[in-house]
């Protein structure tokens, strides 16, 4: 039996489901699950975005009633955001954005969509686990929404959930418990998905799809999944201990007067949280690096510069991300030797990251750039990630971090890297794979408006935060201008807030575009609109349930672009990964040879 037949035997073609339940709800098709995650993630992204707007309103106009929306959301206080509302807002904004918006969008949706299609598999390795992963995530989402309706309100201990603020005394009631439980549940969903992605990438690559022929998108998703498998359980452990403290009176995190003499250790939570938390920030950026690495190559019509170098860099960052968590805890009284070690390791991360950057720039250098929508988003990602990365250096350095710790500078820094880069990367991916998702291309004009509004808005907001943070504005304050030394920062905060509202306004272009793509009349969409050679563009838009009628054999890497020989023979500047080259002897190839001999 040939290897191809064996692959096909292992991945049998399943019937296309016809019943509503199996088609849309309990679907084991990775493309349907990707769309489910996409919808869920976008809804939560809108919710988290709305919360961000409320926070920005409070910082620009402290204590003034929120126009229009205030009556709906803060009716009990006449539209004014009270301190109670405010702490809940910034706490749940952070958690919702990370676990219920970026994770499902970037990993849930695009991990699911891209991995099997780009490596030539018919579905995930464990399709039912995949469906279970989505529904577990959805359950956790319901828990989050429920936590807003219980007495004492939702979690309000900051997104980091540090005890004692998140303990029984700091946050009484069910809101905090539900949120921690929801974190645990969504962590379970993430692990289920991550096991699936990793196994699929290891086991189900089509014949000939070697590790070094995988598109960088798959590399990004694979490394992300590996980090998720290994580090989300640490968050689960931290969450279990917190819940035990809250429910059963244990004293893991309780110290001092709260514990009645038999003390635990609140710093323990910070250790556990950041052992998970630091890999998590790379979990949220590695997929975007993958997208960017692919897009700069496709739309510069050039092979990715030193592809292997990019793969090694991403892998190095993945490994290093596991050993730098201490830089979040410089101010906890850590031993100076330990602090310096963490500082050194953290600064070393910038070397592979820098390499990756140089590779992207080299790829574009002398390329024939196409300013398509995904390319714009990729360039935007490079810019915001670059500025976010550079502002990370003073935070990794102990002497500067002691001043900048817990200021708006930190907020600006991690929003540039995690939020803006993830945001732009994800939307670039949405526009790029729209044909694979909904069988149509997005409207280019609207998408470009969306890009410019988002790009300018994101930069305005977070650079504004960097400036005010550098001037000394502490993060998380209800009224940041109550102190004499921050009074003068009202102006810059108002400008920042206007940028935020500008950013929010720009999302209207996406919403229109989205509904047009999903529900509107589907125009004719070319099979391969971007002219690239990866496997997903060899099947129809959207692909059938089984993806590949015949599992392809792969002959080369994903970036066979602008090869003059291919151009001469085939008349196009790209060559598919599964195309036989040179083509069967009969037609153009022989002609050109005979012409040459004349």
């Amino acid at each position: 039996m040939g290897i191809q037949a064996e692959y096909q035997d292992l991945q049998p073609v399943h019937h296309t489901p016809t019943k509503f339940f199996y088609k849309y709800l309990w679907s084991t098709d990775h493309k349907v699950i990707a769309r489910q995650f996409l919808w869920g993630g976008l809804i939560f992204l809108a919710l988290g975005g709305l919360q961000a707007m409320f926070i920005r309103w409070q910082w620009a106009f402290p204590g003034e009633p929120v126009p229009v929306l205030g009556e709906i959301f803060f009716g009990d206080s006449g539209g004014v955001i009270t301190p109670g509302h405010y702490t809940s807002l910034f706490t749940s904004h952070g958690l919702i954005m990370i676990f219920w918006a970026i994770t499902p969008l970037m990993i849930g949706a695009f991990g699911n969509l891209t991995i099997p299609l780009l490596i030539g598999a018919r579905d995930m390795a464990f399709p039912r686990l995949n469906a279970a992963s989505f529904w577990t995530w959805a359950l956790s989402g319901v828990m989050v929404l429920t936590s807003f309706m219980v007495p004492y309100g939702t979690a309000a201990g900051g997104w980091t959930t540090y005890p004692p603020v998140s303990g029984n005394v700091g946050s009484p009631g069910w809101g905090q418990s539900l949120f921690v439980l929801a974190l645990f549940t969504t962590g379970t969903a993430t692990i289920m998905g991550a096991i699936n992605y990793t196994t699929t990438t290891i086991r189900l690559r089509a014949p000939g799809m070697t590790w070094m022929r995988m598109p960088l998108t798959v590399w990004g998703q694979f490394l992300t999944a590996a980090l998720n498998v290994l580090f989300v359980p640490v968050l689960a452990a931290a969450g279990i201990l917190l819940l035990l403290d809250r429910w059963f009176g244990t004293s893991f995190y309780v110290a001092g007067a709260l514990s009645g003499g038999a003390a635990g250790d609140p710093i323990l939570f910070q250790h556990l949280f950041w052992i998970f938390g630091h890999p998590e920030v790379y979990i949220l950026i590695l997929p975007a690096w993958g997208f960017v690495g692919d897009f700069v190559s496709y739309f510069s019509r050039k092979p990715h510069y030193w592809y292997k170098g990019s793969v090694y860099s991403m892998t190095a960052v993945t490994i290093l991300s596991a050993v730098v968590y201490g830089h979040h805890m410089y101010t906890t009284g850590m031993s100076p030797l330990l602090g310096k070690s963490f500082m050194l390791l953290t600064l070393i991360i910038s070397v592979p990251a820098e390499l990756l950057f140089l590779n992207w720039l080299h790829t574009m250098y002398h390329g024939s750039m196409r300013k398509t929508v995904p390319m714009l988003f990729a360039l935007g990602t490079i810019f915001v990630f670059g500025s976010g990365g550079l502002t990370g250096l003073p935070l990794a350095t102990i002497s500067t971090d002691l001043y900048l710790h817990a200021t708006m500078f930190v907020v600006g820094h991690f929003h540039l890297t995690m939020a803006s880069a993830a945001f732009l990367g994800t939307f670039g991916a949405i526009y790029y794979w729209m044909p694979k998702l909904f069988g149509t291309l997005a409207n280019e004009r609207l998408a470009k408006w969306h890009f410019w509004f988002s790009f300018i808005g994101l930069n305005g907001v977070f650079i504004g935060q960097l400036i005010s943070g550098y001037a000394g504005q502490p993060r998380r304050l209800y009224d940041p201008f109550q102190y004499a030394f921050t009074e003068h920062l009202l102006g810059i905060n108002q400008i920042t807030s206007y940028f935020a509202f500008f950013l929010a306004f720009g999302q209207i272009f996406f919403v229109i575009n989205w509904f047009k793509c999903v529900f509107g009349k589907k125009g004719a969409c070319p099979d391969n609109p971007w002219g690239v050679g990866t496997l997903e563009w060899t099947v129809s838009n959207p692909p059938p349930v089984y993806n590949f009628a015949e599992i392809p054999t792969v002959y080369r890497g994903p970036y066979e672009l602008s090869n003059p020989e291919v151009k001469e023979v085939l008349g196009r500047d790209w060559l598919g990964q599964a195309e036989i080259w040179p083509p069967e002897p009969e037609a153009p190839f022989e002609q050109s040879e005979s012409e040459a001999s004349k």
Binding site: Q8, P12, T16, I195, I275
Partner: protein, 211 residues
């Protein structure tokens, strides 16, 4: 487009519920399952790793360990149950070998032996908890020591219960599977989980009872 049209036309087999894999594909599926199982156990190992790390931090930052006034933990009974859980893992491994050789009967007997040892483990462990509890090691008064002691042992015991359920289920389901590879695969996944639980105990035992 009707459903018939959506199926590929080039003679690829369309899976039925009773799709029978070729031996190669079945081995391949087994390998995929193994990768998935390894990742799952790696994930779980990180969770336990985090808990041991917590133990280390709590202990290293405690002024005194164990704190004064807590009853001394017994050593003999925990040592006995340690031997028991190792023995159950060894039996399971013998059973797995028997299954490879095609001896289903011996496999079942070994599996029953492992389950019995697991149940004994739980019984004696509960005895240890009750003794300590009556001697005054309470969650609410013994602080971090009591918290981490009860948590590690109870959390492990929950895994033992889950492991016992899986093993009992194997007793029923493995003989009913059609092919030797499928049987072997199923038994192997279950055995791996049980070994994992044993290994975790081998770390917990010295941490909370000996050292």
């Amino acid at each position: 487009m009707t459903d018939g049209d959506e199926q590929p036309s080039m003679g690829t087999a369309v899976a039925q519920k009773s799709h029978i894999l070729s031996p190669q594909a079945e081995r391949s599926a087994h390998a995929t399952g193994k990768v998935g199982m390894i990742l799952f156990l790696a994930s779980w190992a990180m969770m336990f790793g985090a808990l041991f790390y917590s133990y280390g931090i709590l202990r290293a930052r405690a002024p005194m360990w164990p704190p004064s006034g807590v009853p001394e933990a017994p050593l003999v009974v925990p040592a006995i149950i340690t031997v028991m859980i190792i023995a159950s893992s060894v039996m399971l491994e013998q059973g797995r070998k028997a299954l490879t050789a095609g001896n289903l009967h011996l496999f079942q007997r070994m599996l029953i032996g492992a389950v019995v040892l697991g149940v004994l483990f739980l019984t004696l462990q509960s005895q240890v908890w009750m003794d300590l509890w009556t001697a005054g090691l309470r969650i609410d008064t013994a602080g971090r020591f009591g918290s981490i002691f009860y948590f590690l042992t109870i959390f492990h015991a929950i895994h033992v219960v889950v492991g016992l359920c899986i093993l009992s289920w194997m007793l029923r389901t493995v003989p009913r599977l059609d092919t030797p590879i499928a049987r072997y695969a199923r038994a192997q996944y279950a055995a791996w989980f049980w070994h994992f639980v044993s290994i975790v105990w081998l770390i917990i035992f010295p941490l909370v009872y000996v050292y």
